[in-house]
């Protein structure tokens, strides 16, 4: 009833092709952003920031990046954990070598370094396709983790190889280290999320994105119509790794503060990110957020309900929690195989027609 497109007229091409063509969506989105930036930071507490929002935001960046590669370009990657590690270690080396530089710059540089590494490991994608490509990215995953575990230079020769984020500032605010305020951390991550999501959205609907999707749908056909597979595939690897590198850098420096590479950036992380992208919806910006939200928030919610409310023993609760995640994945699939993004879309369409569906 409220959710209507009637009366919404596009008077120019620009209006017609905007991200939220329905006015209600647009208002809701801007309201959401305003609340996220101007209201939430004043009410946020340590638990909400460190256990819920920061991981969600940071995973969302990584999911966006992986979605560009897997969802838009059709290249399956299981190396995301390794690329996150590149971002984390790049930011660590930068922040310990140049302590006085604005930390946001370090994060961006870490993203660019990861992009370079990503292109390098993306080279085999020119020859290998489909599930077989997973091997190239898996090689990256295991090799990078091994490397960061082995070569002392990366972790400043500490005896354990664990890297610790010392306090660093950005625009005068402390964003890393134990004393940094959670509101600052939250706003810092949120800014990256918003900017990167905008970039992703505009890349994917522009000529670059169209090339990626052409490659995904049929690479030979794309080549014939003039898409250069070399630049298209490698640019997808570069952009995707840039995103994932930034998320890895934030994950280490802002969220965890101390990271053991073999533990935090293991193959499990790569799988988790792939699950997020698939469950959220391949080739969808919203899907990246939905997938990250589902796999980060749902277990926390379940845990709080089962042990916090009902007082279940923690191990039973965890088993049930794991099972419920699995069950929900299967149920979602049977209801709507194309991920939560599609589910969301259907819901919106139903809503638009409600209460007169015919």
């Amino acid at each position: 009833m409220i959710y209507r497109e009637a009366g919404d007229f596009s008077a120019s091409y620009k209006e017609d092709s905007q991200t939220f063509p329905i006015r209600f969506d647009r208002i809701a989105f801007y309201a959401f952003v305003v609340v996220a930036f101007l209201v939430v930071p004043f009410f946020i507490n340590d638990y909400w920031a460190n256990a819920v929002l920061l991981p969600f935001l940071i995973y969302a960046i990584a999911a966006l990046g992986l979605n560009i590669l897997t969802g838009y370009t059709g290249l399956v990657s299981l190396g995301s954990g390794g690329f996150m590690a590149v971002g984390a270690f790049a930011s660590y080396k930068l922040m310990t070598s140049f302590p006085d530089v604005n930390f946001a710059v370090h994060i961006l540089l870490a993203g660019f370094i990861t992009a370079g590494v990503g292109v390098l490991f993306g080279l085999p994608s020119l020859r290998i396709k489909g599930f077989y490509l997973a091997v190239a990215t898996l090689a990256a995953q295991f090799f990078l983790v091994w490397l960061f575990n082995k070569v002392g230079w990366f972790f400043n020769y500490s005896p354990t190889g664990i890297i610790n984020a010392p306090p660093r500032t950005s625009f005068g605010f402390e964003v890393t280290g134990p004393a940094a305020s959670v509101s600052v951390k939250y706003v810092f991550c949120l800014s990256f999320v918003v900017v990167l999501a905008l970039i992703a959205r505009n890349l994917t609907r522009g000529s670059v994105g169209r090339k990626w999707m052409a490659i995904r749908d049929m690479d030979i056909a794309a080549e014939i119509i003039g898409v250069n597979p070399l630049t298209a595939k490698l640019s997808a690897f570069a952009v995707s790794s840039f995103f994932i590198g930034i998320s890895g850098a934030l994950f280490f420096s802002v969220y965890l503060g101390a990271v053991e590479v073999a533990d935090t950036f293991s193959i499990q992380k790569s799988f988790l990110l792939l699950f997020m992208v698939i469950i959220g919806g391949l080739g969808s910006i919203f899907g990246s957020f939905a997938g990250a939200a589902f796999l980060v928030l749902f277990p926390v919610l379940m845990k709080n309900v089962l042990t916090g409310w009902w007082g279940w023993p923690t191990d039973l609760a965890t088993h049930v929690e794991v099972m419920s995640v699995g069950l929900l994945i299967v149920v979602f699939l049977i209801m709507e195989p194309h991920g939560m993004a599609r589910l969301w879309q259907i819901a919106k369409e139903k809503l638009r027609l409600w209460p007169f569906p015919h």
Binding site: Y47, T160, A179, Y255, A258, S266
Partner: protein, 428 residues
């Protein structure tokens, strides 16, 4: 939908609101995941001891203890969630039983002012109380452990290790890499060769290459820094190649029944370091039986009683309770807070009389903690497995480590941490 989820989660957090009338000990346990086999007995022991104190004495100094258990699955991210959800509930002390989570919490301790006790794990240089105000790792740490192991080997070899080879089989991660610097220094000092054999955590059951190498090169001793499925796999492989088991020495985390039982008779004679005695032959177990087991108040299935890791849980809880008593003595109040708890830990003294009075005669080494020294005296013993009777027994007294070597390393590492994080030394 996101908002709705958020509301529920918020309500859940509110429901688990603070209850300040107790001594709150969060137990960041892992009863699931790849390391559950080690996490379950520890968590059971930790909780059972507190239950016993509540049932028998009505708490410590009249104030009951409340244990909040939170499942981490050995994952650092879940550990963060557990830490954040429990720290507002009056938590007095964290014992995360995970290297990753310990490293994650250490920087926060100074801000949240809640002490961490990583008993025989975590960051070794935290033994330096001048830098790490809120972190304790008494009674001993990995570097002392490595030194004690080498001392034990020296004993067996008549005091001379020149030209001998010692191999270190370790989990290729932060935990496993801990003893390497110490062993390097000791190798130089005593003239033995050190061979490093890393085992990748993701595929820790597959150690064929490492053991083939051991079989080829025949090192005189093998030390092991393993955890989880790595331990039983290593002991099985050692039995397979007929490596002399009494020359195979694990750290105290490679020292449980879970590790030796799968190898059956082949594990006979395997040695491991110990920071407390094994078995249930202590008067305390009568109290546990009367106040916990018989009342059906056990934390887990109740089948872990008397195992090495269960005892370790008991030991950790016992040290926590003793620190509470010390703190109550210092400050003269029953309901202590986290800062007082820290003072209690810093003044903790464990003498053999004290342990005997608690019903645990000779259970652990004697040690004392001070402002400078958060690591105790670093003593550890050696225990050996008897496959026929399926029991561990201590075969040495508590051995003191080579403090000159270890303390120099601790000073260097903590100084690096202090410089990186702009911490000025205290206790001056």
């Amino acid at each position: 939908m996101k908002l709705k989820l958020a509301t529920y989660a918020l309500a859940a957090v509110m429901a688990a609101g603070p209850a300040m009338a107790d001594l709150v000990f969060p137990s960041l346990s892992y009863r699931t995941g790849p390391y559950a086999a080690g996490g379950i007995p520890f968590a059971d022991g930790y909780a059972d001891y507190f239950t016993m104190i509540n049932e028998r004495d009505g708490g410590v100094g009249g104030v009951p203890i409340k244990v909040i258990e939170c499942e981490t699955g050995y994952s650092t991210e879940k550990g963060v969630e557990c830490y954040e959800s429990t720290k507002g509930q009056g938590a007095l002390l964290y014992q995360p039983l995970s290297t990753g989570i310990t490293y994650n919490i250490i920087p926060k301790t100074g801000v949240d002012n809640i002490p961490v006790h990583s008993m025989g794990y975590g960051r070794t240089s935290a033994a330096n109380g001048k830098v790490f105000e809120w972190v304790f790792n008494y009674p001993t740490n990995y570097w002392n452990g490595a030194s004690v192991a080498v001392k034990h080997i020296l004993d067996q070899e008549g005091g001379d290790l020149n030209g001998k080879t010692i191999a270190l089989l370790f989990l290729n991660g932060a935990y496993g890499k801990e003893p390497i610097p110490t062993l390097n220094v000791l190798a130089e000092k005593h003239g033995f060769d050190l061979t490093l054999l890393p085992v990748e955590g993701a595929t820790m059951q597959d150690q064929k290459s490492q053991w083939l190498q051991i079989r080829r090169e025949k090192p005189d001793y093998v030390l092991m820094w393993g955890w989880g499925a790595m331990n039983p796999a290593a002991i099985q492989e050692a039995a397979n190649i007929r490596y002399p088991m009494d020359h195979f020495i694990g750290v105290w985390w490679s020292a449980s029944e879970n590790d030796v039982l799968p190898a059956g008779d082949g594990a006979n004679g395997y040695k491991a370091l110990a920071i407390h005695a094994p078995g249930n032959n202590f008067p305390l177990y009568d109290d546990l039986k009367a106040n916990v087991y018989d009342k059906g108040m056990t934390a887990g299935a109740g089948d872990q009683s008397g195992t090495v890791l269960y005892n370790r849980g008991l030991y950790a809880a016992m040290l926590a309770v003793e620190a509470v008593k010390t703190a109550q003595g210092i400050h003269g109040v029953g309901q202590i807070d986290a800062a007082m708890m820290r003072d209690g830990m810093e003044a903790l003294e464990m003498s053999s009389d004290k342990m005997a009075a608690l019903g645990l005669p000779g259970f652990g080494p004697e040690f004392s903690v001070s402002c400078e020294n958060h690591g105790g005296n670093g003593l550890a013993a050696v225990q050996q497995w008897d496959a026929a009777s399926k029991t561990w027994s201590l075969v040495t007294d508590y051995i003191s480590p080579d403090s000159d070597v270890v303390n120099a390393l601790i000073a260097a590492d903590s100084a690096a941490f202090a410089a990186e994080n702009n911490i000025s030394e205290r206790c001056n």
